[in-house]
């Protein structure tokens, strides 16, 4: 047995599992997306029609799909930088030498990540309540009129973004904190000896050293945020005026509420191709920047 074939034998179990539980379903879903599988087809396979690309064409002609796509893009474009900014800020605070009880704060800030969203949603619905909500009370103290967070189509997505950022920033914070802690202290010492201000230390020591981690966190967060689903599902059910319908929420309704599994699979593949392309571009950019 050559080394090469031995290696194949060692990875075979893993490959088999991945093949059966990952590639096979993906291929099946791809096949499904070329049919109009629905409850009628469930009743009698003769009611299944192979429709070729019609699901995809229909999808691109559906205004709600584009609205869902726009909503998701809005969520990603605003939510990701905000989330990374908050994570980075929190990590810097925890890492600061003057910080007291860092262990306590680290746990407290990480807590939202591990709490169940359903429980959190109940609390947030009260926080965001137009009459009794803490948030509107605080705005009222500043003289800003009450906002109907979840009832106004203009404010529902910002409210969802706030919730998602609050819920998720702790995860990236821990990763960035680990990155900060791995930057050698000598670099800061050297910078200080050269008379660098705190701001310049941040720009010329911290950020460059952290760049690979930021790039990875960025890619993961974007891919994750594109799959927005649970927050609108528990908070708004896609409303008001479908302003919080995300691509995944759209797919869920199409597939599991209306049982149109054919067109739901098509949605999944469009989203997959989009995220895949975006991630590839980001990786390319990161590599190009690292080489430059």
């Amino acid at each position: 047995m050559t080394r090469r074939s031995a290696a194949w034998w060692f990875v075979a179990p893993a490959l088999l599992v991945i093949g059966v539980f990952f590639f096979l379903p993906v291929v099946a879903a791809l096949a499904l997306s070329f049919t109009d599988f629905d409850i009628y087809a469930l009743a009698d396979p003769r009611n299944l029609r192979v429709v070729g690309l019609r699901n995809y064409v229909q999808l691109l002609r559906t205004p709600l799909f584009w609205q869902a796509f726009g909503n998701t893009l809005y969520f990603v474009v605003v939510g990701v930088p905000l989330s990374l900014g908050v994570s980075f800020g929190a990590a810097l605070l925890l890492h600061a030498r003057v910080a007291r009880w860092p262990a306590f704060f680290r746990t407290a800030l990480f807590a939202p990540v591990v709490t169940t969203l359903v429980a959190v949603a109940v609390i947030w619905r009260y926080l965001l309540h137009p009459h009794y909500g803490l948030l509107n009370y605080a705005l009222g103290q500043l003289g800003i009129p009450a906002v109907d967070w979840l009832g106004d189509p203009r404010w529902a997505m910002p409210a969802i973004i706030m919730l998602a950022v609050w819920k998720n920033f702790g995860y990236n914070m821990i990763i960035l904190l680990a990155g900060l802690q791995s930057i050698p202290e000598q670099l800061y010492e050297a910078a200080r000896l050269d008379g660098a201000s705190v701001w310049r230390q941040l720009r010329h020591v911290t950020l460059p050293m952290l760049a690979p981690i930021v790039a990875m966190v960025n890619i993961l967060t974007i891919a994750g945020y594109f799959q927005l689903f649970a927050e609108p599902y528990v908070m708004t059910q896609g409303g008001p005026l479908q302003s919080t319908v995300s691509v995944l929420y759209f797919m869920y309704e199409e597939g599991f509420k209306w049982w149109n599994l054919g067109s739901a699979s098509a949605v999944a593949f469009v989203l997959f191709v989009f995220i895949f392309a975006l991630t590839a571009v980001q990786l390319r950019l990161t590599r190009w920047r690292a080489a430059a």
Partner: protein, 390 residues
């Protein structure tokens, strides 16, 4: 399913004592998961013998060929007498001329209203017709201060608009459910009436999520009318303080020119076609359909019984809030009986929501709905054409 699934467990031992050869295995499902579970059970060939179904799901399961017709059983039965059931409710169980379920409990929508607020506006009885209703809404609105409203029509529910639409003579779908019929005068009249309540500021453009606690807000008088269902009798009795209990009650839904129809909703008991114990299954349905058992079921759940016989029980006959339901149930109509209806009703809600926000006129909304319904019903049209050819 839901609370009914828990309560029925208390009734079953009696059935098992009366039928020593029959043992029942009960599986309880939450409503939110029930539909998916039923479809996957069908796909996996593991449907139960007897099941509870929301009566709007019956056409879908009939399309799947999952239900056993019950006409023969019902005709022979000495317990189940079709004439004793409210006609509109019984009708929801008939698809293409055959009976697939026996009503278990009913659900319809009507007016919950604040007697005191109505009295303050100068009215001692609830409205019976649309014009009367509009006059009251206007009078209450004129009295209302701050963010108080005359009526709550939650934008996340399609039922209020559906009830108004069912009051019209025009059916909601035409040609045997092949196309939407939303451009017909009937639906446009209902939609125009519905929209006017928002345009005049009588109803706030809100969903129940934005209200947070509808019972407290109703108790506080934030709105005087609320279109809702029977479960809210119990909720309001439980949640509002004693001094507010005299202030509210229920009334049948007003129609365009006199008392109007509402939705024939509720749950039915069905026998699945794959069941190998169909006679035992039918006997269980008969057991649960006895007026005496239905009385106890009502006492345990607050669910309203579907047969007039069960309504003669003192607990129900004396219930002032239930009286309006008793009257309304004589005037209920089923929603269109096609598997796609729930989706069409959801589109109806979404399009109406856009119209409420001023993005569509009545004509545009009706046209848009016909278009969406035509899309959703495409497969049905193909199947009907295909079946005839085969």
């Amino acid at each position: 399913m839901g609370r009914e699934g828990e309560v029925v467990a208390e009734l079953l031992p009696e059935f098992e004592r009366a039928h020593p050869t029959i043992r029942i295995k009960l599986q309880q499902l939450p409503w939110t998961a029930a539909h998916e579970k039923l479809l996957t059970a069908f796909a996996g060939d593991t449907t139960p013998d007897v099941g509870q179904l929301g009566n709007t799901w019956i056409p879908e399961l009939v399309a799947l060929n999952a239900l056993e017709p019950l006409d023969g059983h019902a005709e022979r039965s000495t317990v189940i007498d079709a004439a004793d059931y409210f006609a509109g409710i019984w009708d929801t169980n008939r698809v293409d001329g055959r009976l697939y379920g026996v009503p278990w409990y009913v659900d319809t929508r009507l007016l919950f209203y604040r007697r005191d607020l109505l009295a303050r506006a100068g009215y001692s009885t609830p409205p019976r017709s649309w014009p009367e209703w509009q006059r009251m809404l206007a009078a209450i609105s004129a009295e209302a201060r701050g963010d108080r409203f005359a009526i709550l029509l939650p934008l996340n529910e399609f039922e209020p608009l559906l009830a108004l639409a069912l009051q019209q003579d025009d059916p909601l779908l035409r040609d045997d459910g092949r196309w939407g019929n939303f451009s017909a005068p009937g639906f446009r009249r209902a939609l125009a009436f519905y929209l006017e309540m928002f345009q005049r500021g009588w109803a706030p453009p809100l969903g129940t999520a934005a209200i947070a606690n509808v019972w407290n807000e109703f108790g506080r008088g934030r709105f005087a009318f609320y279109i809702s269902g029977p479960w809210n009798i119990g909720e309001l009795q439980r949640r509002l303080p004693a001094e507010q209990q005299g202030a509210w009650t229920t009334a049948p839904l007003p129609g365009p020119d006199g008392p109007g129809a509402s939705i024939a909703g509720g749950s039915s008991l069905v026998v699945f076609r794959a069941s190998r114990n169909q006679d035992a299954a039918w006997r269980l349905i008969e057991f649960l359909s006895q007026p005496e058992i239905q009385r106890r079921f009502h006492a345990l759940t607050g669910d309203l019984p579907p047969r007039r016989g069960a309504w003669q029980a003192p607990a129900l006959a004396a219930d002032v809030h239930a009286a309006a339901f008793r009257e309304q149930l004589e005037r209920v109509k089923p929603a269109p009986k096609v598997p796609e209806w729930e989706r069409i009703a959801t589109e109806m809600r979404l399009v109406a929501e856009r119209a409420v926000h001023g993005q569509l006129t009545v004509e545009q909304a009706a046209h848009e709905l016909d278009e969406r319904a035509a899309n959703i019903l495409e497969k049905r049209r193909w199947l009907l054409a295909h079946r005839r050819a085969r």
